[in-house]
């Protein structure tokens, strides 16, 4: 029992915050449960009196209205309990989820590369909900069972000790049976879930591969595969059904056994005048009333199992190291503002070296182009500057200081990176553009940014201009528009250092040239790093680095690199052939 509660230790402080409502709820539970038992007692007494013939219509009316009033009170108490405890569990849920979200905000991008978003979201939703079910409903039902059952039993005991003891035995069996059966039920249900997952796999495989399936006329065969999986699913569901059926039968049988004891033993005692008929009725009623809370024990058990597993998954997030954090005492001055220096930097992912001893320096206001084939380490290099990742060895300096000496916030205001994948939020275009700014953005600044990223002409084709909602991940916009919008978002920040990580890939060459032209006019004193696999995008920059397998293999200006006839020259030749082909 206690073992099952241990995983919840991290949830305890959150529960403590709600302790007032939880305690109030638990306290209100008691009078409600006392009334729950008082009603059948009153009915039983009434029956006895009616039978003895000393129940006049006046006192009957009095009993009935008193009972109705009590029932009303009980319902009010029930309402309050639910409102207090379930309400508290909802606040608990909100707090836990908010803290989880706060934790997510501090986790480095490496963490997000290892996990799927769906899985992380499910920890914030399904898992938090599973824990809440333990804190709220499970607690409430457990408290109900824990008070109602002893109270009922005490009442039965006071009326007839021997009979109450003998009816209790089957009910105890019931609880134990359910407590034990529920993990088995859960197991069967999980097996059924796995079987439907296989059906899902076959369906997904077939619909995704429909072209090949048809080309090979494999419809019949795939249908047979679906049949096999479907039959397995039927079998798993039937195992689940049998398990459920057994539980139902046990529930029913054991409850009836209690009634049987009352029937035999109770009638015997009535005949012996040691038990009244009203009491006989009362025992029947109490047994039925008690069986419902006892039935919930199985439910509580499975909720606790599920909640414990969910809590462990939540703990994994809380325990994940933040890795990239601001130093305790961030440095406040930078000797050479706007300068970028990478010195002997190496980075490895899972044993593979992405960057090997890379060094370069870009003076304030200078521009640098970096090119190379896919997987040559370009994006890794870009991620180092705003500390999306930290190097394994070597130093990255910005403004003449190690980036690890800056506060993250200050560093990322100084150096803005436009990442490769154009991510927009499902808000209006305006909100997306001003995302990096706190507060309102001046219209003329917005206009300038739109002009600089060549998005101004597109506005007319958008239904509501700047107020057009761009849809989930910005999918209402074309790939090129998305990339230009992310660029505009970065330009609005007007940072001293701008890093463009291959963010023109979906933009046609003409527009790209226009953007670069406008950027250059605007960025006289801005340090600019442009990473691109397209030579076109970097050829006019002050200096160009060519990366291959994580190392700098060539460096120089466009003209120098072409003359040397190396990798850069070959890349250039290939790209011009492609564009020639495109023009034919």
């Amino acid at each position: 029992m206690l073992r099952i509660l241990r995983p919840f230790s991290r949830a305890l402080p959150y529960l403590k915050r709600q302790r007032r409502d939880v305690w109030l709820g638990l306290l209100t539970l008691l009078p409600g449960n006392v009334i729950e038992l008082a009603i059948p007692w009153m009915i039983a007494r009434g029956i006895d009196r009616a039978q003895r013939g000393d129940l006049g219509s006046a006192s009957l009316a009095w009993i009935a209205s008193a009972a109705l009033l009590l029932v009303l009170l009980k319902s009010a108490a029930r309402y309050a309990v639910r409102w207090l405890i379930i309400g508290a569990s909802r606040r608990f849920e909100r707090d836990l989820r908010l803290d989880l979200f706060r934790k997510f905000l501090t986790l480095p991008s490496m963490f997000y590369q290892r996990q799927t978003t769906g899985d992380l979201v499910s920890r914030m939703t399904a898992d938090v909900e599973a824990v809440r079910l333990c804190i709220g409903p499970s607690l409430m039902y457990f408290a109900t069972t824990a008070t109602l059952v002893p109270l009922t039993w005490a009442m039965m005991f006071s009326l007839h000790p021997a009979l109450s003891l003998s009816t209790l035995v089957p009910l105890l069996f019931l609880s134990i049976a359910l407590w034990r059966q529920s993990p088995r039920l859960e197991e069967a249900s999980r097996a059924a879930q796995q079987a439907i997952a296989r059906v899902c796999d076959v369906a997904t495989e077939s619909y995704a591969g429909i072209r090949i399936l048809k080309a090979f006329t494999q419809e019949d065969r795939q249908q047979r595969r679906m049949e096999e999986c479907g039959l397995e699913y039927v079998a798993a569901q039937m195992r689940f059904a049998r398990s459920r059926g057994r539980t139902q039968a046990v529930l029913h049988g054991i409850k009836d056994l209690g009634l049987l004891v009352v029937l035999v033993f109770g009638s015997w005692e009535v005949i012996r005048h040691r038990f009244t008929l009203g009491e006989f009725f009362l025992f029947n009623d109490l047994l039925i009333r008690m069986s419902i809370p006892m039935m919930t024990t199985g439910w509580i058990a499975s909720m606790l199992h599920r909640g414990a597993a969910a809590m462990r998954r939540i703990d994994e997030i809380f325990d994940a190291p933040a890795e990239i954090v601001s130093p305790e005492r961030p440095s406040e001055d930078w000797p050479r503002p706007g300068e970028v220096e990478v010195f002997s930097v190496s980075v490895a992912y899972g044993g593979i070296r992405a960057l090997k001893e890379v060094s370069f320096r870009v003076p304030a206001g200078g521009s640098l182009g970096i090119t190379g084939r896919t997987g040559s380490g370009k994006s890794t290099l870009a991620s180092l500057l705003p500390r999306l990742i930290d190097p394994d060895c070597g130093v990255v300096r910005i403004g003449g200081r190690d980036v690890r000496d800056w506060s993250l916030e200050r560093l990322r205001r100084e150096c803005v990176l436009v990442p490769q994948e154009p991510f927009l939020f499902s808000a209006s275009l305006r909100d997306n553009l001003s995302f990096g700014l706190d507060g309102e953005v001046a219209p003329e600044l917005l206009e300038r940014a739109l002009f600089d990223c060549v998005l101004d002409k597109d506005l007319t084709s958008l239904a509501e201009g700047l107020d057009t909602r761009v849809g989930e991940r910005g999918l209402m916009l074309s790939g090129g528009q998305r990339q230009r919008a992310t660029l505009g978002r970065a330009l609005l920040l007007d940072s001293p250092i701008l890093v463009l990580d291959d963010c023109f890939s979906a933009i046609d060459t003409k527009t790209e040239a226009l953007i670069l032209e406008r950027l250059e006019a605007r960025t006289k004193d801005r340090t600019t790093l442009v990473i691109s696999h397209r030579i076109q995008a970097i050829k006019n920059l002050d200096h160009i680095l060519v990366l291959d397998q994580g190392a700098i293999v060539e460096a120089g200006t466009h003209a120098e690199l072409l003359r040397s006839g190396g990798l850069y020259a070959r890349l250039e030749r290939r790209q011009s052939l492609l564009s020639e082909l495109h023009r034919i």
């Binding site: 009603i39 009915i43 009434g46 029956i47 129940l55 009957l60 029932v71 009980k74 319902s75 029930r78 409102w83 309400g87 606040r91 909100r94 997510f104 997000y112 978003t117 939703t125 899902c200 796999d201 369906a203 077939s206 619909y207 591969g209 048809k214 494999q218 019949d220 249908q223 679906m226 039937m238 059904a241 459920r244 059926g245 139902q248 039968a249 049988g253 009836d256 009634l259 049987l260 009535v270 008929l277 006989f280 009725f281 029947n284 084939r373 999306l388 993250l408 205001r413 803005v416 990442p419 499902s426 995302f435 990096g436 989930e472 920040l493 070959r570 290939r574 052939l577 082909l581 034919i584």
Partner: protein, 597 residues
């Protein structure tokens, strides 16, 4: 998240007919259906009888002794024991019937859902490619799984439970009226009130829940979005703003939840109050009758059990309605798919000879610029033709049209002089072998993947084909040789190895026309050599279309077709084309540059 609540659509005309159309799936299982209702009726009968035994005990021997009409003697004792055994028997019977009820209903439901799923799946597999262009895979998977289950749950727990509830209500009321009309009258007067109030409050609670779901969906969407865009948030220093927004969403959600919790608390308290009130009022009238000696205690105890039978189903009424709604919306979606016309084939059947003609073919996909514009070409039986072109030139469309996966919008595609649309689909596709770029392997043994379900092909032939395409080493390396079962989508083979298996397939099945879609992904040199040999082995004597991405393989082709922007721009041998200094020359140089860099 529960999809069910979302789908509140109300009832519409024609819904009944639609559900009735699905009832035909019950047909083959009519025996089981009858059995399940027999079990239900049996369980109900036992439910009714057990309180009757209690009544009989109380009003019979017990009352007789209390009235001092009978003495306590062995006869009485055996009478009591008889009643007790009867009760015990009923209990056991009841428990057993409960078990059978769950199992038999589960069986019928599962069989029906299996049948519906199978026919839906079979239908889907035979729909034309255009259907799959319009529908996302995920959506179709949901139709095949969740929607089928939803629909069947309606038959199992919806219709069946509703009939059972109806049986219980009618049965109990009949007995009550017959036995004690005065109590029955009170119940009949109060029950509709109870039903209406419960129904209304439950729907109110559902409505509040609907609002909560909207807030929940919003919060979840925000969480989803901010997690996938975490990099942007961190890069632009917006952690605090995102936190604030999430906090606000959480607050809105909490408010919605509190309303919902309140509504549900009200509903539960109300239901509790009303059912207790019905019990108390029935008690009051019963007590009055007992006092007037017009009713016995046994009778009252029996009624008291019966009242519980009545209140349960009425409490569930709103829930049943919700199941019905969700089933209707699923049924609607499934019917819509089942109504889609199947892929149409012709009746022409003959062994394929291998001549291919394209006559001014125009082909475009929904909303996109034409993939092929007025393409004409002809390929002789036994000829090997290479098709080259940049990405998007229309190469893949060409093979789709030959296979009849799509119908061209204008012009015609003829195989052996017969229009593709007149061929029987199975004959046509069986005569054409495809080695695609992304080889699709089933999650069965390699042997089965090569045989493709044709048992007449001996294992020896498969082994020989595999070693001829150079997969002999691969087979020797695998734990169970050709009997090794592959993981989903053949994940435990490399892309190159999968292609070797696909080549073996083609060798074994001896198609007249072969379409080779070369892999663009780089395979290691050893596998590439194997593939090269495999191609040569396979090509002999067949009409072959090689969709070439690597120009090194096209030199051996009889003829090279150069597709550019959906048109046939150049054709000839490698030397003729290269000398022309046109598109082919550039493609070739590009390739050359690419292989060097």
């Amino acid at each position: 998240m529960n999809e069910r609540i979302d789908e509140r659509r109300g009832l519409r005309k024609g819904d009944g007919r639609m559900l009735l159309a699905f009832a035909r799936f019950l047909g083959p299982h009519v025996g089981w259906v009858i059995l399940s209702f027999a079990v239900l009726c049996g369980a109900f009968l036992v439910d009714l009888l057990a309180p009757f035994v209690i009544r009989a005990t109380l009003d019979g021997p017990v009352a007789a002794v209390l009235r001092e009409e009978r003495r306590f003697d062995p006869g009485l004792r055996s009478e009591l024991l008889l009643k007790a055994s009867l009760f015990l028997l009923l209990s056991f019977g009841g428990a057993a019937l409960r078990y059978f009820e769950v199992v038999v209903f589960g069986w019928v439901g599962q069989r029906v859902s299996f049948d519906i799923r199978q026919s839906l799946f079979a239908h889907l597999l035979r729909l034309p490619m255009r259907f799959f262009d319009r529908h996302a895979v995920g959506e179709l998977v949901v139709r095949t799984t969740n929607d089928v289950d939803n629909l069947v749950e309606f038959f199992a727990s919806g219709v069946a439970a509703f009939l059972f509830d109806l049986l219980r209500i009618v049965g109990v009321l009949t007995i009550l009226f017959w036995d004690e009309p005065r109590i029955a009258a009170i119940v009949v007067l109060l029950l509709p009130l109870f039903a209406v109030i419960t129904f209304r409050f439950r729907n109110k609670a559902r409505e509040a829940y609907g609002e909560t779901r909207t807030a929940l969906a919003r919060a979840n969407a925000f969480a989803q979005e901010s997690l996938s865009g975490m990099k942007v948030t961190q890069l632009l220093n917006q952690e605090r703003q995102m936190e604030r927004r999430f906090c606000d969403l959480g607050e809105t959600l909490l408010k919605a939840w509190q309303r919902t919790v309140g509504q549900f608390a009200l509903l539960f308290s109300m239901v509790d109050f009303l059912s207790q009130a019905i019990l108390i009022l029935s008690f009051a009238s019963a007590a009055w009758l007992i006092a007037g000696a017009q009713m016995s205690i046994g009778q009252w105890t029996q009624y008291w059990f019966y009242l519980h039978f009545l209140l349960g189903p009425i409490r569930e009424l709103a829930e049943r309605y919700n199941i019905l709604q969700s089933a209707l919306s699923s049924a609607e979606k499934i019917s819509r798919i089942l109504a889609e016309p199947l892929e149409e084939g012709g009746a022409f059947t003959a062994p394929l000879k291998g001549a291919i003609e394209f006559d001014e073919v125009v082909q475009s996909y929904d909303g996109a610029p034409p993939a092929l514009r007025s393409l004409s070409l002809s390929i002789q039986p036994g000829e090997t033709v290479a098709v080259v072109g940049a990405t998007g030139a229309g190469k893949t469309t060409l093979s789709s049209l030959v296979l009849g996966l799509y119908r061209c919008q204008q012009g015609s595609v003829r195989i052996d002089g017969i229009d593709v649309k007149d061929w029987s689909i199975a004959d046509l596709r069986r005569g054409i072998g495809v080695v695609p770029q992304e080889v699709f392997l089933f999650a069965t043994s390699i042997l089965e993947n090569v045989r493709l379900g044709d048992p007449s092909i001996p294992e020896e032939t498969v082994r020989e084909a595999l070693s001829r395409v150079g997969a002999g080493d691969l087979i020797a390396r695998l734990p169970n040789g050709v009997h090794t079962v592959l993981g989903e989508r053949g994940v435990n083979l490399s892309a190159g190895e999968r292609q070797l298996v696909a080549f073996a397939r083609v060798l074994v099945h001896q198609p007249r026309i072969l379409i080779l879609d070369e892999a663009t992904s780089s395979v290691d040199t050893h596998t590439e050599e194997c593939l090269q040999r495999a191609v040569e082995t396979v090509l002999r004597g067949r009409t072959c279309i090689v969709i070439a991405h690597r120009l090194s393989t096209v030199r051996s082709a009889d003829r090279i077709l150069v597709l550019h922007k959906g048109e046939l721009r150049e054709q000839g041998t490698h030397h003729e084309l290269y000398a022309r200094n046109g598109i082919y020359t550039r493609l070739h140089d590009l390739q050359f540059q690419g292989s060097e860099t």
